[in-house]
Amino acid sequence: MRNISGVDGDSQGSGIMGKKTPRRPLDIIDQQPAASSPAEIAALATCARHGNKPDELLEILHELQEHVGYVPEATLPVIAKALNISRAEVHGVVTFYHDFRREPAGRHVIKICRAEACQSMGTEHLCQHAEQTLGTKLGGTSADGAYTIEAVYCLGNCALSPAILIGDRLFGKVDPIRFDSIVAGLNKEAAE
């Protein structure tokens, strides 16, 4: 079975990608069940929505993560097979980019900018405050599973530093007091 979804992996039409077809070292994946868990089914569907084009791998991973919350290990062979690329290539991409998570995150992911402009306005202090109030280090999740905090490097809001991003919501001039009120707002939303 060459391609589970039935869409020809060569259909992206780009010459350079086409050359890659023979590079399929992990034949073992062929013996695995096509897709059993909901995450694997979601992965398959996402790939199909992108025409199983290998050049859309980043988009696919973003969408999958949006849907499942992270990129589960079990989806990697499924994606590899759908896009007709090696599992090592998918693994390489998932681990190269900071955005892709391999473990579930908290209900809210708070990205705190740690870059220079935000440093000049005390982001170091803000990071410490966030770590203390949420009881986890940057990169970790609070014990109640509500918040993951992560360091990022510039959110393009450098004239209104320090900046944080929660989902698609950007906040500027975030000092510890404002941070607490933002978190309180999220708690309230969750309670409603």
Binding site: D55, L58, G92, Y97, A115, E116, C158, R169, F171
Partner: protein
């Protein structure tokens, strides 16, 4: 009906613009006032965001920074008639911060509804492309060459020469790739343009496509910019429906399709070949050059790679002629640059000015000094790979060559201001740390050198064999500069060594004194 403008720019949203827009809408309803709220881009005076404007017979009147709680008061003061209020600034275009600028690329940003093609057309949009559609490819390239435009992404390479290479090469498939990765701290011009005037970027890319015979283009936007991604995607769809994109642009028979690709949080993907890898769905490992991307770029095909600002300058160059653009600027730095004043600054924002303006003018005249009110001690210019300059060097004119002479770089035009509480040894350490985090890992001087750099600076800070370690740091920087494939490893020594040279006192602090100083804080 009265038109009220409340920006949709992410920076404005970050300080409550949505709440302000909602408050204005409900207050107007309660007061039975017939108003229309336009969600415009930002005027760039970010210190005044959310900046609300009201259209009056005399022009647009500005109020800011407006909080949702101020809205009732603004209504009672009669702001819908442009009346005075403590948050009022009079006519927007007369505010000195704005009036003293030379807005070419950002001429429309903040004025129009970003997703209205009619607004765009009314304000000169698509004039450049319309002209380009009647010209030969080589003539378009010639116009861009005449303008003296140089790459705004950092390296300052002449755009016309790049385009000519792609124009002259034979190829069935060519691409235009727009670099909207904007990873440099202190920069937000690309974001502001994409959110505030997205058709301008689409027009610039389409002109590039028509010039060199490319039929597909990609805009690579970083994932930290969800608002820009959304606006660009919507704008592309609108342009498609109105035949400014697609297989027959305005009946010219020319075809151009445009796609947005989102990054995934890797600074190195701003490096052009790493970006190409990423658009192809791979790890962002930097490619060896040659071949240059103009010859073998995206999917191995001839590709123009340009920064958002380079491409967004093209419509006006075509509309008004290369000579018009070239008449701004100094030396070999022609035209304008959108400077971004950021960090510890009272009046941060975007200032578009011709080259030749000085750092001092930008941070004193526009910026008004630090936000904390303390003296300015250092400014980092050109992003995390740019130099830290002390006030003694603030009079160097913004000019690629003059900055190079001062061991600094203009880069993407971001200025990050620090007050006198900054510890420059810590900033140098961060430069190395950032390189270690963001290195693509292809070459040892960058991947390993940056980690050694952090350790060596830690020793210097701890006064452990300080002199020897300072020498070691310098050696390490030479190795990184000479032995790195790209500017990530190659330029990290710039912020590090500029900190050491310009602020030596921070690297020679007595440890004992430092403890006393820390304790006194």
């Amino acid at each position: 009906m009265i038109t009220v403008y409340v920006p949709r720019d992410a920076a404005a949203l970050s300080v409550g613009a949505d709440d302000v827009a909602a408050a204005i809408a409900s207050q107007a309803k309660a007061a039975k006032k017939d108003i229309r709220i336009v969600r415009n881009g930002s005027r760039g005076m970010l210190f005044l965001e959310p900046l609300v404007e009201v259209d009056t017979p005399n022009g647009r009147v500005a109020y800011g920074p407006v909080a949702a709680g101020d809205v009732a008061d603004l209504f009672s003061a009669g702001f819908l008639d442009g009346k005075a209020h403590k948050l009022g600034h009079g006519l927007t275009e007369k505010i000195p911060y704005f009036a003293k600028q030379e807005r070419l690329t950002f001429a429309r940003c903040g004025i129009t509804d970003p997703l209205s093609i009619e607004d765009y057309r009314t304000h000169g949009g698509f004039d450049g492309l319309t002209k380009a559609l009647s010209m030969k490819g080589s003539e378009i390239v010639e116009e861009v060459t005449t303008s003296g435009l140089r790459g705004r992404g950092g390296a300052g390479f002449p755009t016309g020469i790049k385009w000519k290479t792609v124009h002259d090469i034979k190829g069935e498939q060519k691409y235009i790739a727009c670099n909207a990765d904007e990873g440099d701290s202190g920069t937000f011009a690309d974001r502001m343009l994409m959110e505030g005037d997205p058709f301008c970027l689409i027009e610039g890319m389409t002109i590039a496509a028509v010039a060199v015979g490319a039929t597909k283009g990609y805009i690579y936007i970083r994932s930290e910019y969800p608002h820009a991604v959304k606006v660009m995607r919507e704008a592309i769809e609108i342009a498609r429906q109105t035949h400014w994109l697609g297989d027959d642009i305005q009946g010219s028979g020319k075809a151009f399709e445009l796609y947005v690709r989102m990054g995934a949080g890797a600074y190195i993907c701003g490096e052009e070949t790493s970006m190409l890898e990423s658009i192809e769905g791979k790890r962002g490992i930097v490619r060896f050059k040659p071949p240059i991307p103009a010859i073998e770029g995206l999917f191995g095909k001839p590709t123009i790679i340009n920064n958002v600002m380079s491409l967004a300058a093209v419509p006006i160059i075509l509309a008004k002629g290369g000579a018009f653009y070239r008449d701004y600027g100094v030396g070999r730095s022609r035209g304008t640059l959108a400077f971004q004043i950021a960090g510890n600054i009272k009046q941060g924002g975007l200032v578009e000015k011709a080259f030749g303006v000085t750092t001092r003018e930008l941070i004193e005249d526009w910026g008004g000094g630090t936000a904390t009110g303390r003296p300015v001690r250092a400014v980092q210019i050109g992003g995390p790979l740019g130099a830290y300059l002390p006030p003694a060097k603030f009079d160097v004119p913004m000019d690629y060559e003059e900055f190079a002479k001062a061991d600094a770089m203009v880069g993407h035009g971001g200025l990050v201001v620090f007050d006198d509480t900054v510890d420059m040894a810590k900033q140098a350490r961060f430069a190395m740390e950032f390189c270690a985090i963001e290195s693509c890992g292809k070459c040892t001087p960058c991947r390993i050198g940056s980690m050694r750099g952090v350790e060596v600076i830690d020793k210097i800070i701890a006064n452990d064999n300080r002199d020897m370690n300072l020498t070691l740091l310098e050696d390490l920087c030479v190795t990184m500069t000479d032995g790195s494939l790209c500017a990530m490893g190659g330029l990290t020594p710039m912020p590090v060594m500029s900190a050491v040279r310009n602020f030596p006192e921070d690297f020679h602090k007595q440890t004992a004194n430092k403890f006393i100083a820390d304790a006194a804080e």
